[in-house]
Amino acid sequence: MVTIDLGAVPVRDANEQIRKHGKAGENVEIVNPDARHHIGVGLTAPIDVHIRGSAGYFCAGLTDQATFTIDNNVGWGLGDNIYSGTVIVGGNAGAIPAVGIRGANIIIKGNMGSRAGQVMKAGTLLCAGNANFMAGYMLYGGRIIILGDSGERVGEDMTGGEIFVGGRVQDLGSDAELTDMSSQEDESIREFLDRFEIPFNGSFQKIVNAGKKLRYGSPERQMRSLPFFTFSGGSSYWNAKVQEDIHIKSQSGRYRIRGYGTARALPHLSDLAFARDLSRSVGTADVISKVQMYTEIGGINGANPLKLSMPVMVAPMSYGALSRSTKHAIGLASAMSDIAENTGEGGMSDAQRNAAKQLIFQCLGGRLGWNIHDMKRADGLEIYISQGAKPGLGGQLMAKKVTQELADIRGIPAGIDLRSPSRHPDILGADDLVIKIEEFREATGYRLPVSVKLGAGRVRDDIKIAVKDGFDFIELDGMQGSTGAGSSEVIDFVGIPTLAAIIEAEEALAEIGRRQDIQIVLMGGMRDGVDAVKGLCLGADAVAFGTSVIIAGGCIACMQCHVGQCVTGIATQDPAHEKRYQPEVEAQNIHRFFESVRWQIAALTHALGYDDVRKLSRNDLVALTPEAAAITGLPYEPAPRKRSAEALAG
């Protein structure tokens, strides 16, 4: 047994020591913990850690196989996302104990705080005292045993798992109901109590999901949908799309769900032009060798940066919305073009990890697929707050798409209608976010860049918070970004256009004089290298492509993404559909698309008279429409540009 004194050793150093002792198989005792945060985070070895006193937030979080004993109290997020292992708390636990756990036994001898077991997926959470508000909120699986009283709204919006209450059931949450329990279940609980020597002679009541909320009684009538490109950007009053929507709604009686992004005509990068006539200079041969495009993203606070051969990334798209084969193809293409790929929600597949040279691992509120092992093999970590296509909203993956393989990787039961929450259990404000970021850094030894994905909403405030919270970079997503599924009303009428988002972000950082402290990756409707260059001119450090990547990889925009019957095998989990997809072939197609982007970025940068993409600035742009001029503050110059002497010479 090794003793670590937290009165003398900072938590960061202590965690490194704990992991080292873990590798050596040596047990650890922590003295003077004094409720400090992040104790033991990221430990993946079967050792015992004994904390003599109280621990703070995220104690034993993001661990696997270890046993933690805490003599006194713990703060928020006890055992966050544990894969397997045991945690025993002698006193009380703060809010969200056992949040998102994938397995493990968590025993709290005192009371526990609100939202215990939120988005928990497997394992057992036992509280010998009383639970607080909304225990089992959005529970996906596993069991929660409460020997005392349940607290209010127990089982709120749970979709799977079981809650057993030995005391009083004060108040059932929405979509939760009491049901009979079997003698086997009772025996299993008694056995568990005996194992951890917790006396209890009372009886239990069992709470499960009632299944009455968020179920679609009848599917949308199948009809030949209009492909996205036939209605995107249109603006007339009555057209075939309006007619189609009315027909479908007249049958279903509810709003429509669809994939892709906004179809409305909004001010966008195409409403900008370059300030000089480039027609003479663009023809220069071999421009790629003449322009510096290599870009590092995420290294400004000392983490290992992503090393991009050009200021371009793949935007986050989930394995779930997209098939495994598609994620595989995108991973291969990103490696061929030497840029970074992103897991999106729903976990990291081996195929994707092995294909992509650099991979960002995205963490959402449901913590679906999130786990310490994949964090450690990622090249960057991303906290998703929202996305441009449906800012502030969660999502739903229909049961049909939740196959066994998909469920395994997400850590949930197969075949459930999967609610993906709109907010994180442990991020209810900028103050919580600071502590969350540090947890991720502690778990991965401060090696990986940590970024935040923000769907453009209150950009000015959000960007300032992101920089103050110490993120390494921001992925800023505008309203022209796409989604696998969203209400069409939201996709078309909620959000801030990409153009406005980057302008507001730059202004916000200028206001607080912190532009140099963060990098911005802009996304939301990037279609080619021309859009990319305009984004860079407006201040982005890099841009990310999503929709154009899947189009390059075979998408025909047939609008069946949300139902899982994609004929090209992209937005489906049905093996019969997926087998049509050829990852190696499509990877080449996506790679060639990225190479066209590379050439366009180089050619335009060169034509503007620069040898480095970092020299691009907003002075290189003008606005073609009054709206774009109003948004960007760029000069409104719809007339053809005069050829400058410089451009002629080039």
């Binding site: 409720a35 945060h37 006194n72 703060g75 703060g94 209010e152 404000g429 900028a430 103050d431 600071v434």
Partner: protein, 303 residues
Amino acid sequence: MCGIAGILFKHEVPGLTTGQALIDMLDGCQHRGPDSTGFALYDGAHSGQLKLRFFVGEAEAAQEAIARIRRALDEHDAKIVEEETIGNNYRVIVDFNGNLQKFSYAIEHAAKVISIGSSLEIVKDVGSAAEVDARYEVNKVHGSHGLGHVRLATESDVKPEASHPFWATGFADIAIVHNGQITNYWKMRRRLERRGFEFTTDNDSELIAVYLADKLSQGLPLKDALQTSIEDLDGTFSFLVSTDREIGYAKDRLAAKPMVMYENDDLVAVASEEVSLNKLFPGQALQTREPLPGTFATWSRSI
């Protein structure tokens, strides 16, 4: 977005001032709010006297502001007993027996008021607890109780006047520190404005302070005012309030913001995180308690 702390000593504890206890507690949760730090302190009341603190800025601007304040004090029959300039603050003690609400609204037009009270003084500025202490010597302040706050500015600027604690504009000796967001801010503010109350910021924490002060001035005990606040205020909040005699807390019904408390024979301490409480008792396992959602409580020396 922030961290909060409050302490009430049941009796004198040798070697520990209220100021120092709050500095230690805020140092423990500074990660929750690196932008600014503030304290509400209560010490040495004299009947018939008021202590006023103002932000006056620096150099010439400060001289002009002080001149305006002096004129305004004179106009309202407030006689200066003592005055000094500390950091960007002008602190003045006056003899005053008039209508405080009218007086403070008028004074507010002369310069930015930080606090007015017979014993309350609010000290707040940009920087950490240690930095603010170095500027204003908070550690030297005794008194039976006080509040503290660290702030991460989200929607308003990083300015000393936007930091906490907030004084209940127009009501002596009432201060508040708050973690969270009041979502029916404008509705509640307009309701109070229609009744003649003035607000000096757009910060939702000032609203809570004025709301409670209004209830107290109607004769409600502090705990009843806290109870109605949980019903009337919408949003996520954990807040602490102090008067010249008591401290109290209220917590929203959604339990979205943290709060932990500890009580022994000497003191009651409340903070966002247990790590702050342990700063007062290093190396000890404390029997702390997390208040339930939708609850409130008050403490005073007399109980």
